[in-house]
């Protein structure tokens, strides 16, 4: 099962893909930046400070998406006994962590003009900080443990613990009274955001997703070459 995912087979694609993804990322990001900084309207209440949303929200979405994917892949790695799932998870984590940090920092910058403070121990912000800690633990576990079996177990355990936090992040603004505003975009019901702001947001989200794909591909190729390097030692 999942033979099509075998590193030997997909390296041909993953080794060539980064340059095309990079080009596409630059194009989409350029369009997104023009839309976000120039063409999109200012908010009636927050004025131009609302533009921070175009980096803050996609970063938060993607960091949550990547953590959920890492958890799913790690668990699948155990179920299907595939080392490749762990390799994909490991390669996804750095961009997820960086997006998490971007969401926290840009959220803090956005907080100053809108709430009058750089930081508040509010449910949404605190739970995002906890997610960053889980990302850090996950990345550290890969650095400190040499034994493959051990690192698979420990990193999966960290993701399972961390995934409990993901619905807390999502619903924190509904469950508690927070400084953070409730979600403006809903997939299942009507969104409260105007299309003039929604489209730039979606373009920036696409750019961020392409960037995480780019980093994933580069990291995955690095991991494959690392394995092959060990293979050469054994010859």
């Amino acid at each position: 099962m999942f033979k099509f995912l075998e590193p030997n087979k997909i390296f041909q694609i993953t080794s060539k893909a980064p340059k095309y993804v990079l080009l596409l990322f630059i194009i989409v990001l350029s369009i997104g930046l023009v839309e976000a900084l120039i063409l999109s309207p200012e908010d009636y209440k927050q004025s131009d400070a609302v533009r921070i949303m175009y980096v803050h929200v996609p970063a938060a979405w993607i960091s949550l998406g990547i953590f959920s994917s890492i958890t799913l892949l790690s668990i699948s790695g155990f179920i299907f006994k595939s080392k490749n799932f762990f390799l994909i998870s490991k390669s996804l984590a750095p961009s997820g962590f960086v997006f998490n940090i971007i969401a926290l920092v840009t959220g803090s910058i956005w907080g100053k003009p809108t709430w009058g403070t750089w930081w508040a121990w509010d449910a949404r912000i605190t739970s995002m900080l906890i997610l960053a800690l889980f990302y850090a633990l996950y990345l550290i576990s890969w650095r400190i443990y040499e034994n493959e079996e051990k690192v698979f177990k420990i990193s999966t355990f960290i993701t399972i613990l961390g995934i409990i936090n993901v619905p807390i992040i999502k619903y924190s603004v509904d469950w508690w009274n927070t400084l953070h505003q409730p979600a403006s975009i809903n997939i299942l019901s009507k969104s409260s955001i105007h299309t003039s702001m929604l489209y730039p947001l979606l373009i920036m989200t696409a750019a961020f997703a392409l960037f995480s794909l780019l980093i994933f591909l580069m990291k995955y190729n690095t991991e494959l070459i690392k394995i092959k390097n060990k293979g050469l030692d054994r010859l």
Binding site: N8, I52, V55, S95, V98, I101, I215
Partner: protein, 75 residues
């Protein structure tokens, strides 16, 4: 328009620093990942060069090894 971009009703410092931080983080992560990739690729080429012809032929029987070498020479 340029004035609007650099003033933004008094919010430019916040908006541009948020975008600046994001883009710098992107650049930083890209550079770190690229350096790690090139380092591993160079290590592979060096190790491959030190193999005997018999070992090299055996290694070349794997398509992925040939791909790594081809990419390294193209870069």
């Amino acid at each position: 328009m340029i004035n609007e971009l650099f003033f933004m009703n008094g919010y430019a410092a916040y908006v541009l620093s948020a975008f600046g931080f994001t883009l710098l983080s992107f650049l930083g992560l890209y550079m770190v990942t690229k350096v790690q990739f090139i380092r591993e690729q160079n290590k592979f080429v060096t190790k491959f060069g030190s193999l005997s012809s018999e070992q090299a032929n055996s290694a070349k029987s794997q398509r992925i090894n040939k791909e790594i070498l081809a990419n390294a020479t193209n870069n």
